[in-house]
Each structure stands twice: as structure tokens, then as C-alpha cells.
């Protein structure tokens, strides 16, 4: 237990806002505004107000479709591309790899307008598919997976091939199981990033039926012309992040392992 103290101390700055989030969302905003940050029994009025402020069921469905669907496609593209860049020899391989790296350096914000124009041009404006489109070839994932493949000695491939396995078989039965931590780490990053993403979904979609949680949350927490209603804002935030938090608590061990094994710093 004692050796956990330094880690806990490091957590403190992050626990502050989380604690605030919970306190504010379970305290009636009247009490909270008066400076009483705790009330017993806790109230759910903020949650019911937040829940009624936006069509959350629809947003949940869209967000899950978007993030999980995108991840499923990404895992395939990223694995294949990473394998090609790590194992296959073809002319221009280095150039392709640099192109991927280059994409890593570009902040996604500068691509919003061109991506949006492309989507409109190919008729995918205001669709969940279009929303996911720019992320299908994730540079980050390709890079991560390529590094994973490169850390596996080629003797594994050769041994399997001697036994008569084709490339696909080698990839599926030998290599992919060995880079599982990398894939898991990538999955976590991808899920969290797209779950929280705001600006791109705001621009890429317009009808309510294609909107995701992050955009829905913003629709009732904007307060430039009123005061900040902490109870409402925090309850809305909790509704949005609850599934992610739950996921993290359930699979904590897997997450930590995958990050330590893939050598990736969160």
C-alpha cells in the first residue's frame, strides 16, 4: 500500500475536477450556488433536467455506432497497413511511411474544411459514415501497429511459412495475437478521442438524427449570455462520460497492461 502513495499524490490534481463534477451534479443547483457543495440525500434533479434538455437516447446510439463502427474498420485497415509497412518490401515503402508520419503532424482542425468539402462532393455530408470517413486510415494506428510488428523477430513468420502458411494466415494466427496490446492501446485512444470529439461532428453533421453526444451536450451547456449552471453542466457531462468511465473501471487491468506492454505513454 505504501508504495501507492506517490501515485495517489500524482492523481490529486486530476481528482479535483472529478470530485467537483460529482458534487455539483448531485447537489441541487440552488444549494450549490449558495456555496454548499454537498447535500444529503443527493438529488437527481440535475440529471432529469439535463436528460430532458437533449435527445440522449438517439445521441448514445449514434455515438456508439460511430465510435465502435469506426474502430472495427480501423482495426482492419491499421493492421493491414502496419503489416505492409513492417514486412513487405515494395518500391516507395519509405515514402509511404513518411506520408503516414506527415499526417501525424497535421492537427486535425486544419483538415476540417477540406474534409467537409470532400464529403459534400461525394454525397456523404450529414451522415455517420461521412463522419467516420476521414479517420478510417488512422496514421497514429498505422504507426503504432507497424512498430509492434517490427518488434517481432521475422523468424516467427519464416517458421510459419516453412510449415506452409500463407501471408494472411501468418498475419492472423501468428502476428496479430502478438500485437494485441498495441491494438488494445489503439482502441482505447480511438474510442476516447472520437467519443469526446466536438468540432468535427458539429461541422460534418447537421440534422439532429445524426448528432453525437458531445454535440448534444453543448446544446444546453452554452452559457455565454447567462451564468454557468454548474449542476446542469456537470450532470450532462456525467451522462456523456458515464459509459467510458464504466468501461474503464471494468477493464482497468486490460487497459493498463496494454499501455505498459505497448510502451505507449497515455
Amino acid at each position: 500500500m505504501r508504495r501507492d502513495w506517490p501515485a495517489l499524490a500524482l492523481c490529486l490534481p486530476f481528482l479535483g475536477p472529478i470530485a467537483f463534477l460529482f458534487l455539483a451534479s448531485f447537489t441541487p443547483s440552488r444549494e450549490f450556488a449558495q456555496g454548499r457543495y454537498w447535500s444529503f440525500p443527493p438529488t437527481l434533479e440535475n440529471f432529469s433536467q439535463a436528460w430532458q434538455s437533449a435527445t440522449f437516447v438517439l445521441y448514445y446510439r449514434n455515438t456508439v455506432l460511430y465510435t465502435v463502427g469506426l474502430l472495427a474498420v480501423q482495426l482492419v485497415t491499421v493492421t493491414l497497413a502496419g503489416y505492409a509497412l513492417a514486412r513487405l518490401r515494395f518500391p516507395g515503402r519509405q515514402a509511404v511511411f513518411y506520408a503516414v508520419l506527415l499526417q501525424l503532424f497535421l492537427p486535425p482542425v486544419v483538415l476540417i474544411l477540406p474534409n467537409f468539402l470532400t464529403l459534400r462532393a461525394i454525397g456523404l455530408g450529414d451522415t455517420l459514415t461521412g463522419l467516420a470517413m476521414p479517420y478510417i486510415a488512422s496514421a497514429y494506428g498505422i504507426f503504432l501497429v507497424r512498430q509492434g510488428f517490427r518488434s517481432i523477430p521475422p523468424e516467427y513468420d519464416e517458421a510459419a511459412m516453412l510449415d506452409g502458411a500463407g501471408r494472411v494466415r501468418v498475419l492472423w494466427h501468428v502476428l496479430v495475437p502478438m500485437i494485441r496490446p498495441h491494438l488494445a492501446a489503439f482502441s482505447v485512444v480511438s474510442l476516447i478521442y472520437h467519443w469526446n470529439e466536438f468540432l468535427w461532428p458539429l461541422v460534418a453533421t447537421s440534422s439532429n438524427r445524426n448528432r453525437v453526444l458531445a454535440v448534444g451536450l453543448q446544446s444546453f451547456t452554452r452559457a455565454s449570455e447567462s451564468g454557468a449552471e454548474w449542476g446542469l453542466i456537470c450532470a450532462g457531462t456525467l451522462i456523456v462520460i458515464a459509459p467510458l468511465m464504466l468501461l474503464f473501471v471494468l477493464f482497468q487491468r486490460v487497459f493498463i497492461q496494454s499501455f505498459t506492454q505497448s510502451g505507449l505513454k497515455g
Partner: protein, 426 residues
């Protein structure tokens, strides 16, 4: 014979199927931002659903587009993509930038054609200031606000001030604030006055003070392109803002945050605040004491800027769609909807006739504090209307923050900000 009967039925079915298609439904896109915490997006949806039910030929799709800045960005992106919205709410203050982008149409012809229904003199003149430019009307006021003073009547009684006579001048206000400031064991437990100077709409209240000092933050003869920071009233306002914390010690020292000021007010940590009418709902729901609203105090004169969003129509939409979008705009800015919107959201209803409706009278009877903002409109001015507004505001905010957080001389600070703003507007 059978064949013929079959054919006849087929043709009938076809004609029957085509007939409704001939007068095809029109689908309009309506972008709107949200600037007040609460289910405003849902309220807008409700209005649009009502429109859609009563206008089956013109179906409007409401598109929530973020805060004001994001909504503007999304609109520009949609226009670049060749699919502009048919109608949108954008910041009234952005008018000169929007005209500069060459994306909206002046509404004078539409208004003239509808002169009987669309009486522009029914809108408060103060709200039309940021809606007109170069003698043309470019937008119709919808969600508009203006700052007022909120004060804690219980605290007034406690220190022997008349709760029905809020201070009217800066001097009275400072004197009252001194009485209201409460110290306990060397700690201030209640401040007299808070005028937020950072976060949110951060140049707004400084602008209000400049107006009270007898000036304007911009040159009225060159309202698109000239800011007047290096001016006597702007300097007086800055000095006043600094003195509240530094010299008089009636305000928390340093920059005062916009978003949390109403929280401090309802918690009793501060007895008087300058704040938007948009905060009325929050304060009403959360204050456990009696509170009143008053005009912003005067130095040379009463006055306040206005704020908020207007309806705009876009260039390049086919005439029939434009007509439909105009009908929708008229409906959304009709007397009844504006009255309901004011009650639902806390914005000031921009039409005089809205205040004469039954629902509004009932509301005002219950919450007389709502009237102050309307009555103050006779003294109101346009909100800083220059172009490149985001950068200009950033330069002004930097100067204000320097003034309230440091002791650097005010004149040179403002002069430097003036130079930066001039560069931006060159």
C-alpha cells in the same frame, strides 16, 4: 377489357401519386446557436415543429450549430461547400464581418413588400442599431440581451439603504458598495459590487462603463472601422473599473470572472452585480433573498450596449426558397413567438407589441425585474460593431486585464491597445 381497366387504374394511381409531388415540399435549413444554459435547443425545436405543422409545404430543419463562434464557422463552411443554410441566427455584433464576407442579403425589399405585417418600428430602435448598416436592414432581432444591475434587497435593508432606491450614479453606487462591503476578521465576507471583466462577453461591461462615461467604444461616423480606446470616456471607464478593486476596495481585486458572478450574487458574496438580462432566470431560481434590477448607474449619462443574435437570410438561394425563409423569419420574429421566447429564455423581447400580449403581462406581473431591461433600452447604444471583431475584442480584453490586474498607467495601456486595434482594422 380487363387490360384496359388495369391500365386505367394504373394511370389513375400514377396521377394520384404525382399530383401531391407537383406541389413538392420545400425543405429549409435553419442554423442557430445557443448562448444560454438550459434546454434552449429544445425550445427552438418546439417552435419549429409548430411552424412545420402549420406550414406543410415548407418544412424547416433546425440545426443546432454550437456557440456563436462555432455557428458562424459552420455557416461559412456550409457556404464554401455550396450549400448555405436558408436562414440562420448569427451574432448581431458580427454584422460588419458578415457583410464583408458578402454572404447575406439586405432585407429592405422584403420588408417593404410586407409593410403591413412587418412593421419595423415595432422593434425597439436600440436593437435595430446592430441590425442596420449603410442605411439598410440586414437582420431581424431575435435573441437579444442587455446588461442591467442586479442588487440584493435584503443586504440593502441590512445596512440601512432603501431597497427601493438603487443607486443611480457612479458616486452613489460606490457609496452604497462601501456600506455593503462586509469585513469579518480581516476577511471580506461580502463585496459591495462586481462588474465582470473576464471570460464570457468580456468587453461588454467595459463598453457599458464607457457609455456611462459619455463616450462610445467606436466612432459613430465610421462604425465599421474605428475604435476609440484612446479617448477620455474610455479612460474614465478604465480608471473606474480599476478603482473599484484598488482604491475603493468594494470589488474583489483583479479580474472578475463573468460565468461565476451570478453564483457569487445568489450566494450572497456580492451585493450588486452588472450582468446580462439572460441571467435573470438563474438568479430568480437560485436567490434566497429578495432582489431587484436597476439601470446601470450613470456617470455622465445612463446607457448600455445591447447583445445577442439576429435572423439573417443568405445570398444565392433561389427566390422561392428565399421567400419561404423570409416567411419563416417573420413567423419566428412575430409578436407572439418573441413574447414566448422572452419568457422561455430570459432574452429581452425585441418587439414593443410583445410586451402588450397577455402571457407577457402575466409574466411581468410575476417578475417585475424583467421590465428594467426594456425601459433601459431608450438609453441603449449599439454593441461595438467594427469588423474583425474577434481580434479587436481580444486586443481590448488584453488591455482591460492589464488595467485590473496591474498598476501600469492607464493612458499608455489604452494607447498601446489603440495602436494594435488600428493595425487590425487597417
Amino acid at each position: 377489357m380487363k387490360l384496359r381497366a388495369l391500365l386505367a387504374t394504373l394511370i389513375l394511381a400514377l396521377v394520384g401519386g404525382i399530383a401531391p409531388m407537383a406541389q413538392a415540399q420545400m425543405k429549409l435549413q435553419f442554423y442557430y446557436p445557443v448562448g444560454v444554459a438550459g434546454p434552449l435547443a429544445k425550445i427552438i425545436d418546439t417552435y419549429v415543429q409548430e411552424w412545420n405543422k402549420s406550414h406543410p409545404q415548407v418544412q424547416v430543419e433546425p440545426v443546432f450549430a454550437g456557440g456563436y463562434t462555432e455557428a458562424y464557422a459552420k455557416t461559412l463552411a456550409a457556404i464554401q461547400a455550396g450549400t448555405p443554410p436558408d436562414v440562420a441566427i448569427m451574432l448581431s455584433q458580427n454584422l460588419n464581418d458578415i457583410i464583408g464576407q458578402n454572404i447575406v442579403i439586405p432585407l429592405d425589399d422584403l420588408i417593404k413588400a410586407d409593410a403591413a405585417q412587418m412593421k419595423m418600428d415595432d422593434f425597439f430602435p436600440a436593437f435595430m442599431l446592430n441590425s442596420t448598416s449603410g442605411g439598410k436592414v440586414w437582420s431581424i432581432p431575435f435573441q437579444r440581451s442587455t446588461p442591467v444591475m442586479y442588487y440584493n434587497k435584503d443586504a440593502f435593508k441590512e445596512v440601512g439603504l432603501d431597497p427601493n432606491k438603487p443607486p443611480q450614479t457612479w458616486a452613489e453606487m460606490v457609496a452604497a458598495a462601501k456600506k455593503l462591503t462586509k469585513q469579518e476578521g480581516g476577511r471580506t465576507t461580502r463585496w459591495g459590487l462586481a462588474i465582470p471583466s473576464s471570460g464570457g462577453v468580456d468587453t461588454w461591461l467595459y463598453e457599458a462603463l464607457t457609455i456611462a462615461a459619455g463616450g462610445l467604444l467606436y466612432d459613430a461616423n465610421n462604425s465599421c472601422c474605428k475604435v476609440l480606446l484612446a479617448s477620455k470616456p474610455a479612460e474614465t471607464a478604465a480608471q473606474f473599473l480599476r478603482d473599484l478593486g484598488e482604491k475603493e476596495k468594494v470589488s474583489p481585486p483583479g479580474a472578475i470572472n463573468w460565468g461565476t458572478t451570478p453564483n457569487d450574487f445568489v450566494a450572497g458574496n456580492v451585493a450588486m452585480i452588472y450582468y446580462t438580462t439572460g441571467g435573470l432566470g438563474f438568479i430568480r431560481n437560485n436567490a434566497k433573498f429578495e432582489f431587484g434590477t436597476a439601470f446601470l448607474a450613470k456617470d455622465q449619462r445612463f446607457g448600455a450596449p445591447t447583445g445577442g443574435g439576429n435572423f439573417y437570410l443568405f445570398k444565392g438561394t433561389p427566390p422561392d426558397r428565399q421567400k419561404a425563409a423570409w416567411e419563416f423569419t417573420k413567423w419566428m420574429t412575430s409578436t407572439d413567438i418573441l413574447a414566448r421566447w422572452s419568457i422561455d429564455s430570459g432574452y429581452v423581447a425585441p418587439r414593443k407589441s410583445s410586451w402588450e400580449t397577455g402571457v407577457m403581462k402575466e409574466y411581468v406581473g410575476k417578475y417585475p425585474q424583467a421590465i428594467t431591461a426594456r425601459d433601459q433600452l431608450q438609453y441603449a447604444h449599439a454593441e461595438l460593431p467594427v469588423k474583425n471583431i474577434i481580434e479587436v475584442k481580444r486586443a481590448i480584453v488584453t488591455a482591460i486585464q492589464t488595467i485590473v490586474t496591474t498598476t501600469q498607467p492607464i493612458g499608455p495601456t489604452l494607447a498601446e491597445a489603440q495602436k494594435r486595434v488600428d493595425d487590425i482594422l487597417k
